[in-house]
Amino acid sequence: MSPDAPSSGPVAAIPPTDGLKECTVTTEGTFGPAQGSAQEGGPELVQLLTPEGERREHPDYTFDLDDEAIRGFYRDMVLTRRIDSEATALQRQGELGIWASLLGQEAAQIGSARATRAQDFIFPSYREHGVAWCRDIDPLALTSMFRGVDHGAWDPGAVNFHLYTIVIGAQTLHATGYAMGIQKDGCVGTGDPDRDTAVMVYFGDGASAQGDVNEAFIWSSVFNAPVVFFLQNNQWAISAPSEKQSRIPLYRRSSGFGFPGVRVDGNDVLACYAVTKAALQQAREGGGPSLVEAFTYRMGAHTTTDDPTRYRLQAELEHWKHKDPLARVKAYLTRNGLVDADFFAELEREADELAERVRSGTRAMPEPNLAELFDLVYAEGTPELQEQQRWYTEYHASFHDAASAEVAR
């Protein structure tokens, strides 16, 4: 990847105000409030598979895997979408407290996550169910979190996939620090594909406004840390459209911090794979950070508590449905005779089984035991907390004792 060329986009003049001679803000392509459209990614969008399922060439990026890999990506996306719809249904049935749907963002997540190597460390936000899938996180670990059983029960170090981070953007700094550690360990630029390591961190258009994200950009740039900032621009930060977050296309933010940025069609799994792979490789080789803006769309609500009909038009959703990340891969596979009816039937059966496992597994989860948490706060427990634990345990047990006495009577 190369740094952005200077802006060639149109220049919007802001009328002079007292004390300011002139202030100009550049915008580019069809992006930005001046054009009133966040529907298209603009001419800079990297796309290798059109919404109609046609392969496209790009001068800088090539999809270098075979059709078997594309079938695999399709399976990932179908199963991830099924986990998502099942979890949404479970929330509606009262089995989950809340669910953050990834509907529409499957290609961005599967394409990028499949571009990582096992040693690469990933820091997700809280909607990265597709990335979690690629890191072999049991979907039940996700539903247990949204059910309120735990805060994420997997071991981040064992799967190189951190717990979800809910405070927006905080994880970008963790990723940057982790990447600095990789540098200190001598795991960058050695040329050994099993040793060289990158970090990838997921965040969104809303998070791009956070101080922590901007600090992470500065730090990673200054220390040349091997981190890929994977920004899923799903157009909406709950009810705030992306033009409320930025006057320029988000991928161009990085140039001001001194590293390259690229905008990829976030609904194109081939392009997301190819672009992320290049960014990760640059990081592993010692080329420093980069920003990948996956231009996508949150087809569902922010979470199950949200009602997007209050702030966006149905027509917009309909527009994006034509760019569905799964449909275009299905069209490509079908049109080119790369799959048969059995493939889809088998996948359907697999998805049904998975959904059933998520459903029954979630419902069967034991309630969390508060008493256990007292032992988990500190590596070396404190007398104060041990005393509170002892009191709570005895207090709790007293109800059982009273109940037992009642039964005995």
Binding site: G157, H174, Y178, G211, T382
Partner: protein, 326 residues
């Protein structure tokens, strides 16, 4: 035995920790060539290199946020926040990330991060350079909070904090940085556990509870009271989360009267928590209510008024008179 200032003792302690463990790294604003604005990290970058003593961008949230990632990668970051009043940009990372990581990962991720904060007033500084924010952190589950009051504790406690697998907020009494005392650096192990309070003066009439910069003040007050025939005990709490109050309860049962002294504002301060616990544990031994001497509930005043704001020897003695009058 060697004579060291509190600042030099911290420096020597960090040096020893860095020599003992290559994963220990120091990071913060101006900690490298300059040696920190108080020179606490003086010479460390020269001897351990820029990879281990990192001059960071001026971004406190960035310091703590990247320390989280470094700790996850196996490092033991010792972060310097330049002044107490500058810690708040990092507050989210400390409270929402550092403090909670172990419990939310069910013990799989521990963050051995030390956050050093010079705190307290008395140096004639401008706004935001003289605050005592310890209660914010002591209130947060998942953090440990300690403070040193003399060079020997500075030397040993910083090493113990670095060796701790739990995150430690390490408050340094900046107005005592240049106080000098003997430090036995020859010992092979710390003389006192990190999370232990210490009776620094025994007495029979009342107990003064204090920590950090107020230890010296309280010892001076006890010395002055002695001349009036009042025998005051003084406890250096040292550990603010968790507290170590066993020795305190024993003293309170003997003296029956307690005064808590801290620079931080009274309302919601640690004195309130101490008073509640002492009342609960020593109710029938108390001859008087637990009194508190602290900063007023004001934003820290302009420097020329800080002598009026901060507890001093006379304010402590005034409280002694009041507690003895019951």
């Amino acid at each position: 035995m060697t004579q060291l200032t509190l600042a030099k003792a911290l420096n020597a302690g960090m040096r020893r920790a860095m020599e003992g463990n290559p994963k220990v790294i120091v990071m913060g604003e101006d900690v490298g060539k300059l040696g920190g604005v108080f020179r606490v990290t003086d010479g460390l970058q020269k001897d351990f290199g820029e990879a281990r003593v990192i001059d960071t961008p001026l971004a406190e949230s960035g310091i703590i946020g990247t320390a989280v990632g470094l700790a996850m990668r196996g490092y033991r970051p010792v972060c310097e926040i330049q002044f107490d009043g500058f810690v708040y940009p990092a507050y989210d990372q400390i409270v929402s990330q550092v403090a909670k990581m172990r419990v939310r990962s069910r013990g799989k991720v521990t963050l051995p991060v030390v956050i050093r904060i010079p705190y307290g007033g008395g140096i004639g500084a401008v706004e935001h350079h003289s605050e005592s924010p310890e209660a914010y952190f002591a209130h947060t589950a998942g953090l440990k909070v300690v403070t040193c009051g003399n060079p020997s504790d500075a030397y040993w406690m910083i090493q113990q904090a670095i060796a701790s697998d739990d995150p430690v907020i390490f408050f340094e009494p900046k107005r005592r940085y240049h106080d000098k005392a003997e430090v036995n650096t020859e010992l092979s192990a710390p003389p006192v556990p990190l999370h232990a309070s210490q009776i620094v003066r025994d007495g029979t009439d009342a107990t003064l509870l204090c920590y950090g910069p107020m230890v010296k003040t309280c010892l001076a007050a006890a010395e002055a009271a002695e001349q009036d025939g009042q025998h005051l005990a003084v406890v250096d709490l040292r550990t603010l989360s968790p507290f170590d109050l066993g020795p305190v309860y024993e003293l309170v049962r003997r003296t029956g009267r307690v005064i808590v002294v801290h620079e931080a504002p009274i309302t919601g301060g640690l004195g309130a928590e101490l008073a509640a616990r002492i009342t609960q544990e020593c109710f029938f031994s108390l001859e008087a209510p637990v009194l508190r001497v602290g900063g007023f509930d004001l934003p820290y005043p302009p420097a020329r008024a800080e002598e009026e704001y901060l507890p001093d020897l006379d304010r402590v003695l005034d409280a002694v008179d009041r507690v003895l009058a019951y």
